[in-house]
Amino acid sequence: MDPSLEVRGLAYAYPDGHQALYGVDLTIARGERVALLGPNGAGKTTLVLHLNGILHGGLGTVRVAGLGVDPADKKSLREIRRRVGIVFQDPDDQLFMPTVREDVAFGPANLGLRGDELDRRVVSALTRVGMLEVADRPPQHLSFGQRRRVAVATVLAMEPEILVLDEPSSNLDPAGRRELAEVLTSLDVTVLMVTHDLPYAAELCPRSLIMSGGLIVADGPTPDILTDDELLRAHRLELPFGFDPAAVAR
């Protein structure tokens, strides 16, 4: 079986000459939940935007469940964007339609679904994040935590191969954080979670990658990574005061 995500030798420089990626290699097997850790400016967002072909033109390859990302091939790009569901950091950017229901329907409707099949997708995605009761409300009337969960539903409705979350815990209050964690662990989907929130990574992801200076510099079980003080310090990552990753591992 093909891995959900396979990145080989990915290098990229922005048009202004700033080199963001220097040959990234990573493989994520189907059903894994992986945290992508790294300081600001490490190239995490650049990597994420390569996963569905928004950024391209550098060296290397990205394959999603066996299908290569090829920006020149419009048809396959559409399929790639179905397979890679990106949840952006600010739910106000992600939720742009007048009601929650229409927003969740946006992705699958772009895939050509209509009528009952479309409704079924919307209801099932909203049910999976526990937000079905707000389906007909405008996104701006929801709490921040609710909006974040609806944002997850908008990509779940496309039945993605891999869910990519950019800083999913940012700005959430403790209850919202826990509710999102419950949703994410209940999903039967491959997850790549970009975050600075090390306890959240420890809670949700058995495996972690550290990205720094445009390269993957560490890859291993999350408890091992988070207990390696030297590694963390070398890449501007710090555990919050009083947090013991060894205690979570059990």
Partner: protein, 261 residues
Amino acid sequence: MSGATTSLGRLFLPGATVVHRLPPQCKLVATVAFVLAVVSTPREQVWAFGLYAMLLAAVAATARVPAGVIARRMAIELPFVTFALLMPFVAHGERVTVAGVGLSVSGLWGAWNILVKGTLGVVASILLAATTEARTLLLGVERLRLPSLLTQIATFMLRYTDVIVDELRRMKVARAARGFEARDIRQVGVLARSLAALFLRSYERGERVHLAMVSRGYDGRMPVLHGDARASGAQWATAAALPAAAALVAATAWMVQWTHL
């Protein structure tokens, strides 16, 4: 974040009257047709405008929109009123003297023309907005097959007005927290810079929203989510009552105008 009353949502008065229940596309067409009848009426036929006002009053009564609400919302018209009131003083031509002040006759007719037609148009729009939710109104625009780019822009305005107003409010709080008070014209520079920052932020947000849309398969066309909810013949006929009556008034007014020339 903002509460349940949004800046655009406040215009709508919930209800279940005949007017509320009409499909939005019928109401839009009816409003536009009514306004066309009004503006094409010769300004000298003063009685016709009285009839138009009565027609609107009938619609307001049917829709249970209180007169007070309409009166308050008509404030939006004030800048145009000021302009219209200036006309009798600045226009040329034959003059009359009212209370010792010389006024231009054509200016008076011009002012009357702008005032009465503008007011009738504003009241018709207020009635439309009070009986149709902003979101539904956009659906109506979509069903009338107006260019989808326009509906998309309006839809985004509807979604993001609150977000932007909220950012503006936070910037205001941040300014105030550092001791800024807008006392007089000298502080206009600070406000201008805030607006520039707000513009940049909104522009960047636009780019991020576009990225999120492309990531979900957007290719420049908005998917049609609401099928073709066609209005029935009866609904069109109901909606036509207002513009049909107005057209009759306009036609009569023209006939009177011609026979008296």
